[in-house]
């Protein structure tokens, strides 16, 4: 009889359990990734391929990849007669060639880039503002005797108790009166006001976990409270600040409803712009997919760069060191 391996750990998961867990995680990841993969695939199809049935899945086998979606995303085109097209000088660049083949000419850049820049400014601006205000408020709530502290904290939380869009009409009217409609400042302020409550609550938790002794030690050692906050508290709250910043950024970046309602031109962000692409010259799904794919990149980069902090952030305080 072979020896029975009884030397198993009670805390380490067994190999079998690990395998089951891995398979489940892989399956879930696959399901979650399918829409993203589909967006990526659609963005490199021609409009015809994108709506063909049965769907064309594997590039170079089922369909030839094309940059038409990206070309269309960045340009505005107009349909012309073949005679006119023949009178033009030869096309320059791949995009123009594709456009000509569709009996169209490029008449200018599309609004995608300005909208994208608006999104960047508004999302990062409101995140920055939310974090600055949130950190200051959270520190005060955590350390000082604030009159009616519990009531104020509840009040701050209560702003999240209904969907923000429920106050859309009052905000719309207010913004019109204040001249904030369709301005970047207006959108930054709006997203900040939604995010700051989340930031205060999350950051208060993180700052509560930082022992007061650190600041007290610094204050005895000749620093002012502000210096102690800057040199001692802030470096230790970085993890929490990063985690909070990612949450704020994701909200502000993806927000659609207010953006549709309050912006239309100068301050319009990418989310309300992307669906409009569909309407420009037929059902241009590849262009929509291209716009969406590019739209995902900043959050992806931001999250990947800071993922170490994020992981530590969401498990922060779970186990006391």
């Amino acid at each position: 009889m072979s020896a029975v391996n009884s030397a198993h750990s009670v805390v380490e998961p067994s190999g079998q359990a690990k395998l089951v867990a891995s398979v489940l995680v892989a399956f879930y990841a696959l399901v979650s990734l399918i829409p993203l993969v589909w967006i990526g695939l659609t963005s490199v199809k021609t409009p015809t391929d994108s709506i063909s049935y049965p769907p064309k899945v594997i590039p170079y086998v089922h369909f030839q990849p094309s940059i038409e979606g990206y070309c269309n995303l960045f340009s505005t085109r107009s349909r012309q007669t073949p005679e006119y097209l023949r009178s033009l000088p030869p096309p320059q660049g791949a995009c123009e060639e594709i456009t000509r083949s569709r009996n169209m000419v490029v008449v200018g850049p599309s609004n995608y880039v300005p909208r994208y820049i608006n999104s960047l400014i508004i999302a990062f601006g409101s995140t920055f503002l939310s974090i600055v205000l949130g950190t200051a408020a959270a520190y005060a709530f955590s350390r000082f005797k604030v009159p009616l502290k519990d009531d104020l904290m509840f009040f701050i939380l209560s702003t999240r108790m209904m969907p923000p869009i429920a106050v859309a009409i009052p905000i719309f009217l207010m913004y019109r009166e204040l001249g904030l409609s369709d301005t970047r400042l207006g959108m930054i302020l709006l997203y900040t006001s939604v995010n700051v409550s989340l930031a205060v609550w999350l950051l208060k938790g993180f700052i509560d976990e930082i022992p007061r002794e650190y600041e007290e030690a610094a204050m005895i050692d000749g620093y002012t409270r502000l210096q102690a906050f800057w040199k001692v508290v802030l470096p230790q709250a970085v993890t929490g600040i990063v985690a909070t910043a990612i949450f704020c950024l994701i909200f502000a970046w993806n927000e659609y409803a207010f953006a549709v309602l309050l912006t239309s031109g100068a301050a319009q962000t990418a989310p309300p712009f992307i669906p409009i692409i569909i309407g420009e010259g037929g059902q241009d799904w590849p262009a929509v997919a291209a716009g969406t794919a590019l739209f995902l990149i900043p959050i992806l980069v931001f999250t990947v760069l800071l993922r170490k902090h994020l992981l530590r952030g969401i498990t922060f305080g779970a186990v006391r060191k």
């Binding site: 650190y214 204050m219 005895i220 000749g222 470096p235 230790q236």
Partner: protein, 369 residues
Amino acid sequence: MAEIRVQNLVKTFADFQAVKGANFTVNDGEFFCLLGPSGCGKTTTLRMVAGLELPTSGSILLDGEDVTFKRARERDIAMVFQLFALYPHMNVRKNIAFPLVSTGVGREEIRRRVEEAARTLRITHLLDKSVSGLSGGDRQRVALGRAIVREPKAFMMDEPLGALDAEFRHIMCTDLRNLHDRLGATTVYVTHDQLEAMSMADVIAVMNEGRIEQLGSPREIYDRPASMFVADFIGSPPMNFLHIEGTVAPGDNAIAIDGARIGIPVLREGSVETKLVLGVRPEHVTLTDVGSVRGEVFGTEYLGTMQIVTVRTPRGVVKARIASSIPAHAGENVGLAFQTDCLSLFQAGSGKVLASALHDSPMAGVSHG
């Protein structure tokens, strides 16, 4: 270094009075210990001296200068916290240098003084390590380094050994006292551990419920407890209490217990209260066949050369610390004799000791009235 004078210090939190009028003076270069059970106000007192808490009333003088409402950073005091409060995002060198950076001392000077402090504490080899990997004892040394590097007027220590294990605590006690002697630094040390206080302090203030019950040298506090609380808090096992009734007048040199007369140090004051308590340290109890206070041996604890014998008497349980060679068995009926010149007599109601010949001569090494 400096003298610290605390006058009528009161601290009230909402409806709770944490410190009820503390008065004491810490002389220049003295190791002063605030000792008491948790919640007695000792840490609050320390924090007020350090400037982390503002008193409700009273005053704090540092070298004659009123610093009562000055900010902590303006007092030139260093503090060591129970949990060390080392900044985890800085290495050992930066932690120790941190107090110097705020003073605007030059880079070379900081380097020199940090290394000097590290040498004093024998932690030079740790200077470039991260604080998170250090053992409790090394963290303690780094925290001390951060305190001594600035050469402040006084040191505040809030249970600095509380987070260490028992064995290491003992070593640190010796190290701390040596460091104190070398630097000659005025030190205020807070602890709930009587052994730490007794072994290190020049002067101990025993606190209870926001009041200083007694102020004196470790010997004075042990030998002449001013109240039943102090007698009970100091000593292991604590002082035995025998509850008796009767009146005493100045000049009395004995009290009656169950018809027997027990000799006591000559009383210098009498008591109108009739409920009294005779306090006797376990080492001042001997077992005898003829003793007038009798009881039944309840149990014995063997401690090597000594043993603690617990005897149940009609007046209360008495513990005697006697040589292990003396036979004592559970259930035995024994008589107790007390060393008369070491006994204390308390008023049961107020818990205060009655002045007697025991308190006549000033104790050596005590500078406080």
